[in-house]
Amino acid sequence: MSDLSLGRPAEKSRAAVRLRDFVFTSAIIRKILVLALLALIWELAARYMNKPILFPTFTATMAALWEAVTTENLLQSSWASLFVLLKGYVISIVLALVFVSLAVVSGFVRELLQTLISMFNPLPAIALLPVAMLWFGLGEKSLLVVLVHAVMWPFALATLTGFESVPETQRLVGRNYGLRGPSYVVRILIPAALPSILYGMKIAWAFAWRTLIAAELVFGVSSSSGGLGWFIFRNRNELFTDKVFAGLAMVIIIGLLVEGVIFRVIENVTVRRWGMQR
């Protein structure tokens, strides 16, 4: 703004101002800057400590990541994990939406759901793993059970809260047009509560990742190739710390992509565009 007073002088400074404005306003550039800064701190801290077997540097980790991707099928392991994760995620989101919609209609279901949420939400999903293994054996089924448990309750809680805070006027508008039951939920409640629902989906996504990686660490092989957790576990046993870090970095990268790209795009075309969220 103060640059306006500079007025005339060369194209150069104007271009510089424009570049600076772009850097400061573009969310992507800002995010990249933040990530680069964190990587730099990591690199410096690791070099200062100089104990590569305990704390590999950023560059060593990236090299190990590249090696793992090219020679050890890390992408395939990640996909194996991601696939199980997506299955569990979708199942629980659908289940929770149905459950919460029923809770809107019936006071009894609502009470039931609230009780179940307060019972199971604090229960760490991993604590269920021994029971799940006992019931469903060592395989995908157990993983899915644990995943569904991890995703369902926080998501249901966020959605229920979202439904409850839909403005009274919008509810009345829906009822005024004769909407009831499922069409009332789909046409009024879900869009009106979308900010909370998306928030719940983000939280649930993070919970799902955590749970899956932890379960794979306990489990070992869950599918024929083994997942990302198994990759981390295996390399820790052999003291390939840089590869352990590479596995962790992979978890982080996938998390960043999902949060920064997928969820951001969804928000931009919905709640932000509608002015329901800034």
């Binding site: 919008q170 508008v173 005024n176 004769g178 009106a192 565009r273 509608w274 002015g275």
Partner: protein, 268 residues
């Protein structure tokens, strides 16, 4: 059961309506034995201070509230619940659904409750949106509109339907004075052009006389009928006239005779 012979058949009719609210402290009576009726093209205004149950009556006509006793009939059918034959315009700006554009908001009730084709729905909505002067923001989202434009869109959304009666619950109360006067005028123009039947709730005496062809005055706690007045001869031309002033004062006295100490009445 009333002996009066109605000249015109009633579009909507409220017959000895009593409304009650259940609170933790017990049952509170909000409206006590109120009756009124309006024929085709009449604009009936419920007028009274806060607590007179005028909004509750409107909610009951809309079907959101069940009467404790008495009956509400629209074109002879008893009101059993909410329905698109009675479209409501609320006071709140968030009555427009934020995830729909202005056009989609206006098309929404038709899509839900009419058998018109998509093309017809689109045409009708455009015509009505032009009438309320929103043709430039057809594809804008509600959050980009001013308060007055939002209320215009809500009014368009109500008028686009072939509802038997439009119900308006203080639609202009949250607007600034200038916009309010303008929208009152626009509503009157539309009423003259389209001849819809209207139930309008307000606490502003002047707005009531201006908008209504009939006034129904209510006293508070619980809401009881004070009297009914015919104001069909008053129009915008009377704004600021002695005649309107006199009637305003008369209405004011009717509403507040018991509460002589009250100076906190809202004049608009």
């Amino acid at each position: 059961m009333l002996a009066r012979d109605p000249v015109l058949p009633a579009v909507f009719e409220v017959d000895r309506l009593t409304l009650e609210y259940r609170t933790p402290a017990g049952v509170v009576r909000a409206v006590d034995d109120v009756s009124f009726r309006a024929a085709e093209g009449e604009r009936l205004v419920l007028l009274g201070p806060s607590g007179c149950g005028k909004s509750s009556i409107l909610k009951a006509v809309a079907g959101f509230l069940k009467p404790a006793s008495g009956a509400i009939r629209v074109r002879g059918r008893e009101v059993k619940g909410p329905g698109p034959d009675r479209i409501v315009v609320f006071q709140e700006f968030d009555q427009l659904l934020p995830w729909k554009t202005v056009r989609q908001n206006v098309e929404f009730p038709l899509r839900m409750a009419s058998r018109l084709s998509k093309v017809e729905i689109r045409e009708r909505s455009e015509i009505i949106l032009k009438k309320v002067g929103l043709e430039r923001v057809l594809d804008g989202y509600p959050h980009t509109l001013s308060g007055g434009m939002k209320q215009r869109a809500a009014i368009a959304r109500a008028m686009v339907t072939d509802a038997d009666v439009l119900l308006m619950d203080e639609p202009f109360a949250a607007l600034d004075a200038l916009t309010r006067t303008q929208l009152q005028g626009e509503l009157l123009d539309l009423a003259e052009e389209l001849g819809f039947t209207l139930l309008f709730v307000t606490h502003s005496i002047e707005e009531a006389i201006l908008i209504g062809t009939k006034l129904h005055l209510l006293s508070p706690h619980p809401g009881r009928t004070i009297t009914s007045l015919d104001t069909s001869e008053f129009g915008r031309g009377d704004l600021g006239s002695a005649r309107l002033e006199a009637l305003s004062r008369e209405v004011h006295d009717l509403l507040f005779t018991k509460r002589t100490d009250s100076k906190a009445v809202q004049h608009v």
